[in-house]
């Protein structure tokens, strides 16, 4: 017997990225309006596939994250006017999500510089919510049902922003707690370059990472790949990602590196040999530094794997990175 499943959807609502995505110079331009109408159809499909299915929608906005819709909570007071031609739960989802997104986008106002999207906040909130409902069901439904399989929780991240390397540690922490809760994280990359961290998230939690090539086929991709709950996917051939990039962000300059220097005491990653570990204040032997400096790979463009370096497009906007000076040695890295 098929069980009810829980789905948390995290929508990346970065205004800049959506503006870029809608430009006609793209091969398949996708504006946020078209995206939302297709997303709402997908959300409705999830609700329709089983009556007990639960749904939560989070939005990752610049600098903050908000809950846009929850099937267990009423977020707005005003009910949409009854319409004989529409199914009420669908109407409720559609109007709540659209209204909340409009409110939040209006509230952003004019900013000189757009802070990076709070994707981590949205993921951790989704995890807290899942923790709450699984915990809740275990206390009320009694012993017969196993609380962990009851909701079969999963998170779907619809991402448009590039990797935010300053959030490397929090996002990894979130991934590990998702692993502990047995939550599957699916990622659909709607626009922009591949994100290393979300690839790792999908890989580590047994989800699928899909880079949307034909962006006019968004809805089809969503329904074919992400509508089925994880236990049905074992039967279906759901597309998985091909290569997984296990690169990490260094602690010193927040660069994403493939060869790093690691402190043996605290495992902090640095992009160049340092005399003192900035995290645990360990001093490293001088011979090691000399040896490593000599052995450092002379990085040629052919060596950087992605062709286009996954430099932090967003990082330029974070005040943090501007305060840390990039030494000259780094310039030949890029």
């Amino acid at each position: 017997m098929e069980k009810a499943s829980h789905l948390s959807v995290i929508v990346d609502l970065s205004p800049t990225q959506w503006h870029l995505s809608a430009q006609a110079s793209n091969q398949y331009p996708l504006s946020i309006e078209t995206f939302l109408s297709q997303l709402l159809a997908f959300l409705n499909a999830h609700i329709a596939s089983k009556h007990e299915n639960t749904l939560v929608v989070f939005g990752a906005l610049p600098g903050k994250s908000v809950m846009l819709y929850s099937s267990t909570e009423l977020l707005t007071d005003d009910m949409p006017p009854l319409d004989a031609n529409s199914y009420l739960p669908f109407k409720l989802v559609d109007s709540t999500v659209v209204r909340k997104i409009m409110d939040e986008l209006d509230a952003i106002g004019k900013l000189e510089e757009e802070p990076p999207c709070a994707l981590v906040g949205a993921v951790t909130k989704a995890l807290c919510y899942i923790n709450r409902i699984t915990h809740h069901s275990s206390t009320t439904t009694g012993v017969a049902e196993d609380p962990t399989t009851l909701h079969d929780p999963r998170i779907l991240i619809l991402s448009v922003s590039p990797d935010l390397s300053s959030s490397y540690i929090p996002i990894m922490n979130a991934i590990f707690s998702a692993q502990k809760l047995k939550v599957t994280i699916d990622v659909c990359k709607v626009y922009g370059p591949d994100t290393v961290f979300l690839q790792q998230a999908a890989h580590l939690t047994d989800g699928s990472y899909i880079y949307l090539e034909r962006r006019d086929a968004l809805l089809q991709n969503l329904i074919m790949s992400f509508l089925s709950p994880p236990f049905i996917r074992k039967i279906l051939a759901v597309p998985k990602q091909d290569k997984i990039d296990f690169r990490a962000a260094c602690f010193c300059h927040k660069n994403i590196v493939d060869v790093g220097f690691v402190c043996s005491v605290c495992l902090s990653i640095f992009c160049q040999p340092l005399p003192v570990c900035s995290t645990c204040r360990t001093k490293f032997p001088i011979n090691t530094l000399k040896r490593l400096n000599a052995a450092r790979p002379a990085i040629t463009p052919a060596n950087s794997r992605m062709g286009v370096p996954l430099a932090n497009l967003n990082n330029a906007a974070t005040p943090r990175s501007t305060s840390t000076p990039v030494p000259n040695g780094m310039s030949n890295l890029r």
Binding site: E73, P170, S177, D242, F246, A248, T282, K283
Partner: protein, 447 residues
């Protein structure tokens, strides 16, 4: 880590707060209308108080639900909150400053397989309980120390017996511990033989990794071929840290082993306490200050900077090619970022260019030790806040409007609100525990 075993009260609550919490809540549902049990319970409680911290063979039959107390209304809410509060307070006690911890760990698990382990003072027997807890310990240990390695040595019939080689794979170690019949206890234990065996298996290790021996000891005797103090001195010289969990009673030599090498010593009072003192050894030990007494100018010989590469994983669907390590034709594998050679598994050293290849999630698993979430402050009064938020910032659970009337102990908010000192968002008690124990990242500030 502070030796907690002196504080008796602490220990009792310590017995794995999650599990006991879940248990309590279930009892709340089931125990309704079981008024009969109450008077008996009171009698028991008096008895338990008379001899606090009784050893398990001295105690009468106890029920786990005796440890929680109902309030006047018959609700267990107070007891549950009290347990949570204690957990919170323990977190507050922990030092906020970054302490240095060794993360690449090597541990030899020394199991006592002498006849003394067949004692039934811990149910079902000391031996079975030890095996069960050892398996749980291994799982938890690898979860928190993914780069560590564990070897297993047994003490049986007067000799040390190698049960499993050092391995970084939890499945291997669990396999060593799974075969009960192969580990059947017999004869006398020999501490010296077993420690010597563990010591020799760790002598080749690099200096930046920690060397530890964990002894689970049920016997009160040891039969050694030589002077065990020589072995102890050798361990001190090799910087091997010995921790002992004794199941019977304290022995002078065990205490000495731990004190001299900087390990922890504990005597298990009962089953729950056994698990607690065992699991206290899971988090990586703070590095001893001794290692860096050479003054500010001297470099720490134990620390080193290592060059590591983070590979790309190829899927099963990629075109097959030969791997560099076994020359096998296969599709999946990892690409060395420096020389692009294909290796079968990580962590490893690249066979072509010698670069250490690790998967970055392995490293990242330990980062929450380095950057813990700041403890949340309990919101004590709602005065001065004109428009309080109505729901938990993380899980959107609606806060209660009235303050709870229960006697507010330290660290518990009567409003059920806990506030992050950085982003000033309010969280419910459940999310507070979840954020600090599992996620290690505040949903409000994203750090």
């Amino acid at each position: 880590m502070a030796p907690r075993n002196q504080d008796g009260n602490f220990m009792d609550v310590d017995s794995d707060s999650d599990i006991s919490l879940l248990g309590d809540v279930e009892h709340r549902g089931k125990g309704k209308g079981k008024g009969k049990a109450t008077d008996k319970r009171k009698k028991d409680k008096g008895k338990a108080k008379a001899k606090e911290q009784a050893y398990t063979w001295e105690a009468s039959y106890t029920r786990s639900w005796d440890t929680v107390q109902e309030d006047e209304a018959g609700s267990l809410q107070g007891a549950v909150e009290d347990l949570m509060a204690r957990g919170r307070r323990r977190r507050l006690l922990a030092p906020a400053a970054a302490i240095r911890r060794t993360i690449i760990r090597h541990l030899v698990l020394l199991l006592d397989l002498s006849a003394a382990m067949m004692d039934r003072d811990m149910r079902p027997t000391r031996f079975d309980l030890m095996l069960q807890y050892a398996r749980e310990f291994v799982v938890e240990w690898f979860d928190q120390n993914p780069l560590g390695q564990i070897g297993v040595v047994g003490m049986r019939a007067g000799i040390g017996e190698r049960i499993g080689e050092m391995s970084g794979n939890p499945q291997d170690v669990l396999k060593y511990l799974s075969d009960r019949s192969r580990l059947e206890p017999t004869g006398e234990p020999s501490l010296q033989n077993a420690i010597e065996m563990a010591r020799s298996s760790m002598s080749h290790l690099p200096t930046h990794s920690s060397r530890e021996i964990l002894i689970i000891f049920g016997s009160l005797t040891t039969c050694d071929p030589g002077n065990i103090h020589d072995t102890l001195d050798a361990c001190v010289k090799n910087k091997i840290r010995i921790s002992v969990v004794a199941l019977a009673a304290e022995m002078k030599i065990c205490r000495n082993l731990c004190d001299k090498t900087g390990g922890q010593f504990g005597v298990a009072m009962n089953e729950g306490h056994f698990k607690d003192i065992l699991f206290e050894l899971v988090p990586p030990p703070a590095q001893r200050a001794v290692a860096r007494t050479g003054g500010p100018g001297a470099s720490n010989p134990a620390a080193d900077l290592m060059m590591m590469g983070f590979p790309t994983r190829l899927p099963d669907s990629s075109p097959p090619s030969l791997c560099a390590c076994h020359s096998d034709m296969k599709s999946e594998g990892f690409l060395c970022p420096r020389c692009m050679a294909k290796v079968c598994d990580v962590p490893t050293d690249c066979d072509i260019c010698g670069l250490m290849i690790v998967s970055s999630p392995h490293l990242a698993r330990s980062y929450h030790h380095l950057f813990p979430v700041k403890p949340y402050e309990a919101v004590r009064s709602m005065d001065g806040i004109s428009e309080p938020v109505t729901a938990c910032h993380a899980c959107a659970r609606v806060f209660s409007i009235t303050a709870s009337t229960a006697v507010a102990s330290e660290g518990v908010s009567p409003w059920g609100r806990y506030r992050c000192p950085d982003c000033h968002n309010d969280f419910c008690a459940e999310c507070d525990v979840f954020v600090h124990d599992v996620i290690h990242c505040c949903p409000g500030c994203g750090k």
